[in-house]
């Protein structure tokens, strides 16, 4: 069963704009991770944020975590056509075992 739910399901923007994707989850977590999947490929890890962290940056990526609201957001700044992909949040909860549980993803389309 999915733990995380991404919102929106699909997002279309122009190159240079920022893209924001949100993830909500149900149970307490130890960490939350974001992955990207290009069409027909495996998932690639982007960034991990631990439950005691509130914000993390990696290049053009910014992730926030609000454990009180059980939600996270992924911001991609100055988007490029190459950012076109599906983005998934995944949660790890030691209470639920030690496997990541993935949401259904947000499909991002960046047009030039």
């Amino acid at each position: 069963s999915q733990q995380g739910e991404e919102d929106p399901q699909a997002l279309s923007i122009q190159e240079g704009e920022n893209a924001t994707m949100n993830c909500s989850y149900k149970t307490s977590i130890n960490n939350l991770q974001w992955y990207r999947q290009n069409s027909g490929r495996g998932l690639v890890h982007l960034i991990l944020i631990r439950s005691n962290e509130r914000e993390k940056h990696s290049g053009r990526l910014r992730v926030t975590l609000d454990t009180s609201k059980k939600s996270s957001s992924l911001l991609i700044t100055a988007s490029r056509a190459a950012d076109t992909a599906s983005y998934f949040c995944a949660t790890l909860s030691y209470q639920a075992g030690t496997a990541l549980i993935f949401g259904k993803g947000t499909t991002l389309s960046v047009s030039s």
Partner: protein, 116 residues
């Protein structure tokens, strides 16, 4: 450049046939996962192993699916007999769990299975 490898990349078979998918995790990783991805269900966890021992296979249809790790360099997922509803992309992933920290998973390229 360490990566997870999966074979075959594509498999087309007829209903009732046995299908075996193989995965070579990244050397040194102690946890191996099998996922199935479909448009309808998204990415579902089927089973995972730590140090070659199965930890959870509750996501797997038990009557037809089986997962094993004969050794640390090979994980297999077998479907017997296969059915059209098994058509999906099957991903293997590996990671390192230290007991207190668990970081990212590394995914293979997937096996695209079509059961006719």
């Amino acid at each position: 450049d360490a990566r997870v490898t999966q074979t075959p990349r594509h498999k087309v078979t007829e209903m009732g046939q046995e299908v075996t998918m193989r995965c070579q995790p990244i050397l040194g990783h102690n946890t191996v996962f099998w996922y199935r991805q479909t448009m309808m269900q998204g990415l579902e966890l089927l089973a995972y192993f730590r140090n070659r021992a199965p930890l959870d296979d509750s996501g797997m249809p038990k009557d037809r699916f089986s997962a094993e790790m004969p050794d640390a360099t090979l994980a297999t997922l077998k479907i017997q007999p296969s059915e059209p509803r098994d058509s999906a992309v099957y991903f293997c992933a590996s990671g390192l769990f230290s007991g207190t920290q668990y970081n990212e998973q590394f995914f293979g390229p997937g096996t695209r299975l079509t059961v006719l």
